[in-house]
C-alpha cells in the first residue's frame, strides 16, 4: 500500500480544517488566467447546491510561477451577483497547497485524494484549472450522483468540437468501451466525481509514480472504476471550453502517456476484459442541450507529412510492433497517397488492428516501450488526418455516428485481440528482417481504400 504523501503545508491546512463532507480538487500549473473563474464556479456551486455540507476547495499546484496559488486564495465570489434560494450554513474553505513528487496532474490528484481522505469527505470532485466553460451546475452534477445515488464514479459528458479530443475519439473511448463493456464517452475528460470508497481504493495503489503521475491519471481513474466493478455514471456538463494549451509544452507526450497507461492497465485487468463481449450504456445525469463550440484548427497536411516521414524511416521499428499485414497496409497507404494524393483513408479495421498490435507489443516488449509508443505518433496523426478529411463537411450527429462505427469495429475485433494477446511473441527479429528485405510475404488482410 502506498504511504501517505501529505507535505507539511498540507498538514498545516488540515489543522485549520479538520473535517469536510465534500472536497473539490483543482490541479493546476500556471493557470492564473483561468483558475479564478474555476474557483468562483466551484464555490458558487457548493454554496448553491450543498449549503448544508462542510466543503473544501483544494488547489493542488505544481509550483506555478504565474501566481496561480495567490489567485486561488484571493478570488472572492461576488455575493451580490449570486442569488441563492438557500443560505449557506457553513463556509466553503479554500486551500492552495503545492504537491511533492513527479511533476504532473497525477501527483496533484494524489494530494487532493490524500486530503479528501484525511478530511473524511463523502464525495470528492476534481475539475481542470484551465476550464472556461465551467458553471456552478458542474459541481452539482459531479457530486450529487455520489452523495444521493450511491454512484462511486461520475464521468463527464461534454459536447466538443468534432476535431477536439481526438485521442479520446480514436483510441481511448473505443478501446475502453470494447475492453470493459461500458460506454463512458469521455474517459479522459478530466472532471470527475468520486466516492470516498473509491478514493481510498485509488490511494491503496502503488503505481502513482508511473505515467499515471502525468497525463495517464484520467484513464487510470476511469479504468480502475470500470474494471473493479464500481458504480459508474456520467453527467452532462454542456460544452468543454478550455484555455489554449501551452504551445511550448510537449503535447505529443500526452499521447504516449495516455496510450501507455491504457496498455498498462489492459495487461493488469486482462482477466476482467477477457470475459466482456459487448458494451452497455452508462446512466447519464443532467439535461442534454446543444451548445455552440469553438472550432479547432487542424493541420492535415503536416499530419500526413509526418506519417510519410514515418513510413520512410520507421518500418523496422513498426515491424517489431505490428503484424506484417498491418505494416504492409500502412506502407501501401503511403505509396497510394504519393501516387494519388486525394486517396488517404485509414480504414477502421486497419486502425483497430494496429492499436491491438501495439497493445500486444507493449505487453510483449519486442522493443523499448518508449520507442514503441513514440513510434505510434505518425500512425495516429495519419488516422486523425483521415478522420478530419472524412468528416470535414459532417455535422455533430454524423461525426458521432462515425465514432460509433469505430467503436463497433473495436468490439468486432475483440475475439481477434483475445487470440492475439495469448500468442507467443511473433519473431520480431525475423519480422524486422522481412520488412528490411522488402516487406512481408503474406497478403495484407486489410485492403486500403483509394
Amino acid at each position: 500500500m502506498a504511504q501517505p504523501v501529505l507535505p507539511e503545508e498540507a498538514l498545516r491546512c488540515l489543522n485549520e480544517v479538520s473535517k469536510a463532507d465534500i472536497v473539490i480538487g483543482i490541479p493546476s500549473y500556471n493557470n492564473a488566467r483561468t483558475i479564478g473563474h474555476v474557483v468562483r464556479a466551484a464555490q458558487a456551486g457548493l454554496s448553491k447546491y450543498f449549503p448544508q455540507y462542510t466543503s473544501v476547495i483544494v488547489n493542488s499546484d505544481g509550483a506555478s510561477t504565474d501566481g496561480t496559488r495567490d489567485q486561488v486564495l484571493r478570488t472572492e465570489i461576488e455575493e451580490s451577483h449570486l442569488l441563492l434560494l438557500t443560505t449557506p450554513l457553513l463556509a466553503v474553505h479554500r486551500l492552495a497547497v503545492p504537491y511533492d513528487g513527479i511533476p504532473g496532474k497525477g501527483s496533484a490528484f494524489r494530494l487532493i485524494f490524500e486530503l479528501a481522505r484525511a478530511l473524511g469527505a463523502q464525495a470528492c470532485a476534481v475539475v481542470d484549472a484551465d476550464l472556461r466553460s465551467i458553471t456552478p451546475e458542474w459541481i452539482s452534477l459531479l457530486v450529487r450522483p455520489v452523495l444521493y445515488c450511491g454512484h462511486d464514479f461520475v464521468a463527464p459528458y461534454y459536447h466538443r468540437h468534432k476535431f477536439d479530443g481526438t485521442i479520446t475519439n480514436s483510441i481511448v473511448y473505443p478501446l475502453t468501451r470494447s475492453l470493459y463493456g461500458r460506454q463512458v464517452r469521455q474517459p479522459i475528460g478530466g472532471d470527475f466525481g468520486i466516492s470516498a470508497k473509491l478514493v481510498s481504493r485509488y490511494l491503496e495503489r502503488d503505481d502513482w509514480e508511473t505515467d499515471v503521475a502525468r497525463f495517464g491519471i484520467d484513464i487510470w481513474l476511469t479504468t480502475i472504476a470500470l474494471a473493479e466493478g464500481y458504480r459508474v455514471c456520467q453527467s452532462f456538463l454542456g460544452a468543454k471550453l478550455h484555455d489554449a494549451k501551452d504551445p511550448g509544452a510537449d503535447l505529443s507526450a500526452m499521447l504516449h502517456q495516455v496510450v501507455g497507461s491504457v496498455f498498462q492497465l489492459m495487461a493488469e485487468y486482462e482477466r476482467q476484459w477477457r470475459t466482456v463481449d459487448s458494451s452497455s450504456k452508462v446512466d447519464l445525469f443532467g439535461f442534454r442541450f446543444d451548445v455552440g463550440l469553438e472550432p479547432v484548427a487542424v493541420n492535415v497536411d503536416r499530419m500526413i507529412q509526418t506519417f510519410l516521414q514515418g513510413c520512410d524511416n520507421l518500418p523496422e521499428i513498426w515491424a517489431l510492433a505490428m503484424q506484417p499485414a498491418q505494416l504492409s497496409a500502412w506502407l501501401a497507404l503511403a505509396r497510394r497517397f504519393r501516387d494519388h494524393p486525394p486517396a488517404f483513408v485509414v480504414e477502421d479495421e486497419l486502425w483497430v488492428r494496429t492499436i491491438h498490435d501495439f497493445a500486444r507489443a507493449h505487453r510483449r516488449r519486442p522493443l523499448e516501450r518508449s520507442h514503441l509508443l513514440r513510434s505510434l505518433t505518425p500512425l495516429y496523426l495519419a488516422r486523425v488526418a483521415s478522420f478530419v478529411r472524412d468528416t470535414w463537411d459532417d455535422g455533430a450527429a454524423e461525426v458521432e455516428d462515425k465514432i460509433e462505427r469505430l467503436c463497433r469495429c473495436f468490439e468486432q475485433e475483440k475475439p481477434a485481440l483475445r487470440a492475439l494477446w495469448n500468442q507467443g511473441p511473433s519473431p520480431p527479429i525475423e519480422a524486422a528482417e522481412r520488412a528490411e528485405a522488402g516487406g512481408p510475404e503474406r497478403k495484407p488482410e486489410v485492403e486500403v481504400k483509394s
Partner: protein
C-alpha cells in the same frame, strides 16, 4: 671429407635428437592438453546450446537493438552466443596451458601477456556491448524524435547519434586495452569537432534566415504558429 660430413651429420642428428628428447614430452603434453581442451570446449558448447534457454537475454538483445545492430540476429540468440563464448574461452585457456608446458622464456612471456590481457579484453568486450546498446537506444530515440518533429533526414540524425556513442565506446575500449589510445581519441575528437563545426554553420545560417523571416512577418506569426501546430486537437 666424408668423415667430417658424417661427423657433422651425427652432431646434427644428435642435436635434433636432444631437442626432440627435450621437446617431445612437453609437446605431447601440449597436444594432449589441446585435445582435452577441444573435447571439453565442444562438450560445453553442446551442453549450453541444449540446456541454456536464455529467453530473458534474447529479449534484452532484441529490445536493446543489439541483435538488430549486429545484422546477423539469428546467430546471436543468447544460447549460441554464450555457448560460443564459453567454447572460445575453453580453447584459449587450453592453448595457454599447452604453451606453458614448454616452460621456455618465450612461451612464459606469451602466457603472461595473454593472462594479463584477457581480463582487459573481457572489459573491452563488455564496454563495446554496453556502448552498442546505448548507441542503439539513443539512435532509435533520435530517429523517432526526428520523425515526430518532422525534421529532414531522420535516419541521418539517428545514425549520427549512434556513431557518436559507439565511437566514444571504441575510444574507451582502446584505452582499456592500451591499444593506440591516442590515435583513436584523436580521430574521434577530429570527427566530433568537424561535426560540431558543420552543425554550427548550418544552424547559424538557418538561424539568420529564420530571424529574417521572423522579423519580416511578425504580426502573422502567432496565428501561423497556432495553425502549424500538430497538436491543437488533443
Amino acid at each position: 671429407m666424408s668423415a667430417s660430413f658424417a661427423q657433422l651429420w651425427e652432431r646434427t642428428m644428435g642435436s635434433i635428437a636432444d631437442h626432440m628428447a627435450r621437446l617431445l614430452p612437453p609437446m605431447l603434453v601440449a597436444l594432449i592438453v589441446l585435445a582435452a581442451a577441444y573435447v571439453l570446449a565442444r562438450l560445453a558448447h553442446w551442453v549450453l546450446v541444449h540446456t541454456f534457454q536464455g529467453r530473458a537475454f534474447d529479449r534484452f538483445l532484441s529490445q536493446s537493438g543489439i541483435a538488430h545492430l549486429l545484422r546477423r540476429p539469428r546467430h546471436w540468440r543468447s544460447a549460441r552466443l554464450v555457448a560460443d563464448a564459453v567454447y572460445a574461452l575453453v580453447l584459449v585457456v587450453g592453448l595457454l596451458v599447452a604453451l606453458s608446458a614448454f616452460d621456455s622464456s618465450a612461451t612464459t612471456r606469451i602466457v603472461e601477456t595473454v593472462a594479463v590481457l584477457l581480463p582487459k579484453l573481457a572489459i573491452a568486450v563488455v564496454l563495446l556491448l554496453a556502448g552498442a546498446w546505448l548507441a542503439q537506444f539513443l539512435g532509435r530515440s533520435t530517429l523517432v524524435w526526428a520523425v515526430n518533429e518532422d525534421l529532414p533526414r531522420p535516419r541521418h540524425w539517428g545514425n549520427a547519434v549512434r556513431a557518436l556513442i559507439f565511437g566514444l565506446t571504441v575510444v574507451v575500449a582502446a584505452d582499456t586495452l592500451n591499444f593506440a589510445p591516442l590515435a583513436f581519441l584523436g580521430t574521434y575528437l577530429l570527427l566530433v569537432a568537424g561535426l560540431v563545426l558543420t552543425l554550427s554553420l548550418a544552424i547559424g545560417l538557418a538561424g539568420r534566415e529564420t530571424l529574417r523571416r521572423h522579423l519580416s512577418q511578425e504580426p502573422a506569426h502567432s496565428e501561423e504558429r497556432e495553425h502549424a501546430s500538430l497538436w491543437n486537437h488533443l
